[in-house]
Amino acid sequence: MEQSWQLSNTSLGIAFLVASFVVFYLIGWYSNRASKSVADLYIAGGTIGPLANGLGMASTYMSLATFLGVTALILKLQVPFVYMWIQFILAIPLITILFGTSLRRMGAFTPAHFVRERYGKTAAVVSACWMILIMLMYALGQMIGIAKAFETLLGIPYAYGLAFGGLLIVGYITLGGMYGASYNAAFQMVMMGIAFIIPLGAIMKAMGSSGWWFPPLLYGDMVKSMLEVAPDFFDPKYGVKWYFALIPSLTLGGIGLPHLAMRVFTASSLRSARAAMVWYALILGMVFSATYTMGFAGVYFSQSTGTVISPTDADKITIILNLVYNPEWVTALVIVGAIAAGLSTLNGNLLAIGALVAQDIISTLKPNLAEKSKMVIGYVAIATAGIVSILLAFKPPAFLVVSILWAFGLAATVSAPLVIMGVWWKEANKYGAIAASLIAGLVYILVSPYVAPSITLSGDALTDKLGLSGALLSAPLSFIILIVVSYVTNRIPSLAVRIPRHETEKLIESIHGWSTVNPMRYNSTAGAFTIAGICAVLVIWALMPW
């Protein structure tokens, strides 16, 4: 029998919500008092220390999906989804070692800022437009989750939760800037950790696990009981191709997300950025592992008690378990923790949109704008993006996490190849970058089930909706186009003269820490064509039957 999962004591929910938002607004306002320039607004002046930044990185990345969407998909996919989620931790370490420290050295605000310096204005505008679309998809997922959390917490309809919660959040983000985002994110990460892991320990204890005191790893004693009620829980279910597709779609996608790269740029130094990466991995790994435990507990609960979780409630499994096993005030705390998770990510998304619109599009087209005007445009862009994501969220998709994961594949296709090749290969040029971004990006959209349902690659609805099959084709295709078009156009004199070769070489050497230009460095044709060759094999594999 289906049940309605709602907090019965709404005054508890209101009390927790008001208290948390007062703290968020205060932190936002207090931290952002010093914000006087665009560098302060978007990268907090590059002043955030390693612990606060590591917490902020984890918090920005650990979206509301970790609390709500992930457990829903573990309920549906079980182990394959656990494998899928594990690799998300790689984003910040790979960003840091592949280009984060280089772009931090350059003083970039966003990856599109680097694209402008590296490939010119047209490529920057194309790149910024794609990134805004990606950030809107991502923000949409957070808005849907936040509205669902408000619905459960306050007992109000989804649309009211969305309008009320959305506006409250957009105000707080616009007020805080990157200073507010950074310190709020650090605070929210601590809050999320407490609100997720401690109640989970109580749930595990109630379910009879002896390892309840450390939920992320110590629930092995429940495996036997789990296999009795769900014998296929640990089956990998999918083949090698499906698991391999996670690399070009989600791992590479994480590298291409602008709001994550921006967290590396806020570091007070290169050493600090690297130290932050360690804190990030430690904290995020712990919360992610606890998420798998929550998913495990959700499957065990639904199978062992025969409770039917309706598709519309699947996202709420964390809340459902708390409603069943913990007192109501604990559930209220968990929901506020979930809202905090959505807030920190949404904060990063909207700030990225503000920076992309104000810095990478408007300032590129109108370079003589005054600093104050750029800041005003930035604030307006942040607020507008927030309102757009609220309006889009009135008709949400069935699973909130799907819209977010699809955006990863797009980032893997239109953003990551441009930045990675731009940092490591001097021959990459604007023709290659624009062609790769436009052609491969359109291919990704075309093969997704949202535009032309008859042209999907794998035939498995979820695999196509998540963008796994599409990105296995489009991300390698993007690398091939970028490498081949750049190589060819550099050898066509009429096109080559329009490429500022010397400035490009100087930029690449300087972002790696060199003060002189050496033509032998970052110029390996063999390396670039080895990548293109591997990508060609992947493109053929993607087109073969799944």
């Binding site: 370490p93 420290t101 495996v223 990998p236 090698v240 698991y243 002189t516």
Partner: protein
Amino acid sequence: MNAYKKEVYSTIILTILFILAGHTGLIFVLFAPHGLKATFMGFPVHYIVPILTGWIGVVILTLVAGYVGNQLDEEIAKDREVDVKETTSVSRTYSRTTA
């Protein structure tokens, strides 16, 4: 090996190691497509090992990557000084020759 080559090789090696640590599940699927019966910490090995490498393994790699990155910064700074000296000495020789 000079700092440039170290930078390129360490980035490639670390990238591969990070990908392996985050995708250990793929390796299990490759060699044991239906999972394993062997257990560790009470869990099937193919479930718990990817979780551990995807957390503890990645933390260890971030420590290594941080150390290598900091060392490389210092080596590049030293090589940069050599680069600048060589460039200065070449331009001095050139100006003496042309004077």
